[in-house]
Symmetry: C2
Subunit: 306 residues, 2 copies
């Protein structure tokens, strides 16, 4: 799947992933109203609004981008109906031939990580049959529990040709509280980065590993160091746009081949119609606003890279 | 909710939580067969088997214990039907007046943690209405992202009188890879433990904080240190039984008031009928085997404590 991701990035010339993180407040009123008329002001109604919103965005941008990243929390908060919209979104994005990165940040002791891996990127057996319950192509994983919490995920990646992005240096303001603390003179995130490189070494695709990392655009200098520590790991870079990261900050996350990183924007794309720059589209044309925002992001990043 | 948990622990004289982590391989064949006859060898069939198994165990042990801890991964691996069994299990345990600890190990940047908090221990608004989507009483949380990833959870705890157990020192063999690394001369888990004490300081119930910690029975000496660092935090102790922890190892996790810790056993209780000690019950009477295992665990812990 890393090979497909790289190929699609080259083809679209867009190292961009659109974060499908639909807060109800991002969803235009006409969509919410219609969904609530059909399904009531219920969890099902919220899920329907989310699904219609996602569909509108995916239909508007799918040919410009290689991948989407639905953040499962935004669906899980609406319980079972929300998770049904998560699954429906994954399936629809696959129909559009998009690579789907499930931003699930799971991670636990071995047997439990194995269950998460089965559910999200692998298969589960029931009697004589097997199923792909959620069916993402990549998922994000938390490294706090160490190797035996990660191995069940890499095992499934090898079998299924799926991939991971492991949290190394997150984009949020307090990420440094633990991640930046010095161990033997170097911050924890560097040690985690080294382990990511190790975990990924025997999970190689053509030029990059199935095992990637997450490092926030909000910390570009740290990205530069991590790029060297994990030369074969793709870096998923959140924090661009709404969280403060800019195109020029992103250069360090890429390798000299112009590859090696994929930059996420969520709010900046999916709620573009709410920004002054794209207000002219209006809520009725939120998809077109998202498309314009993707094109601007692509330009911003490509200008910084070249 | 911490007050209810403490009260129920005193009343049952059992600082025990039963981990409802149903692997299909633990579920007696007659239950699987019936479920597959009704719903097919499908995710729905697996979910039905899990639910019937859980119900059998809860019915057999609910009067002996204060709390249960369903591990969401074991449900999530069966997709949407699995998660419906998770929710059904939570609701049934509430009917039996059990405290429900959702072992979800979520944790993300602020806005995302807020969504997880809403979905699991809080409420979510849809139009003019609000819902409690999953409705656990406590959840487990991963601290890797620092304070702004934790605060949305503690905010919801204050509003809803719910609680957290934050991962500090996990029970798995490789937990030390990052958690034991020395920072300013002390292991990372001690620093995390100090933050747990801080986060919990303004979330106090009568005698303990809503904000607890996870520390594995497999590392009793570390439990002793953590007990002192976080005197007001309840410690959820996994790793007893099948993972190797024994009653005598648990003493350090408790305070002098005999409180302050709650010990989880999953496989050791729910798959008791598969162990030699309880084989006499047979798969048909798996619930009675679990009841006997709870009684033995209670005896083992209380002998160690007194």
């Amino acid at each position: 799947m890393i090979d497909k991701l790289v190929e699609k990035i080259k083809k679209t010339n867009a190292p961009i992933v659109v974060g499908l993180d639909p807060m109800l407040s991002y969803i235009p009123e006409h969509i919410q109203k219609k969904a609530f008329q059909e399904k009531g002001e219920t969890l099902e109604g919220a899920a329907e609004a989310i699904w219609q919103f996602n569909k509108g965005i995916v239909d508007a941008v799918y040919d410009l981008i290689p991948a989407v990243k639905p953040q499962i929390a935004m669906y899980e908060q609406f319980g079972i109906p929300g998770l049904m919209a998560f699954k429906k979104t994954i399936d629809y994005c696959h129909e559009k031939d998009l690579v789907v990165i499930g931003d699930v940040k799971r991670g636990d002791i071995g047997s439990t990580s194995a269950a998460y891996a089965s559910g999200h990127i692998g298969t589960v057996a029931v009697g004589s049959r097997t199923f792909h319950p959620f069916g993402e192509d990549f998922i994000t994983v938390n490294p706090y529990l160490g190797t035996d919490g990660i191995k069940p995920f890499t095992d499934v990646c090898k079998e299924e040709k799926k991939g991971l992005f492991i949290l190394v240096k997150t984009s949020n303001p307090s990420s440094g509280e633990f991640q930046d603390r010095l161990i033997d003179g170097r911050p924890l995130y560097e040690h985690v980065g080294e382990m990511v490189a190790q975990w990924g070494a025997d999970c190689m695709g053509e030029s990059y590993s199935y095992v990637g990392a997450v490092a926030g655009a909000t910390y570009p200098e740290m990205g530069r160091i991590l790029r060297k520590i994990m030369p074969k790991s793709y870096i998923l870079v959140p924090g661009y746009g709404a969280q403060g990261g800019r195109g020029a900050d992103l250069v360090h996350f890429f390798n000299e081949d112009g590859l090696g990183a994929i930059v996420n924007s969520s709010r900046g794309i999916i709620a573009a119609y709410k920004q002054e720059a794209y207000a002219k589209f209006g809520p009725e044309h939120f998809g077109e606003a998202s498309r314009a925002a993707v094109e601007d992001m692509k330009k911003d990043i490509n200008e910084a890279l070249h």
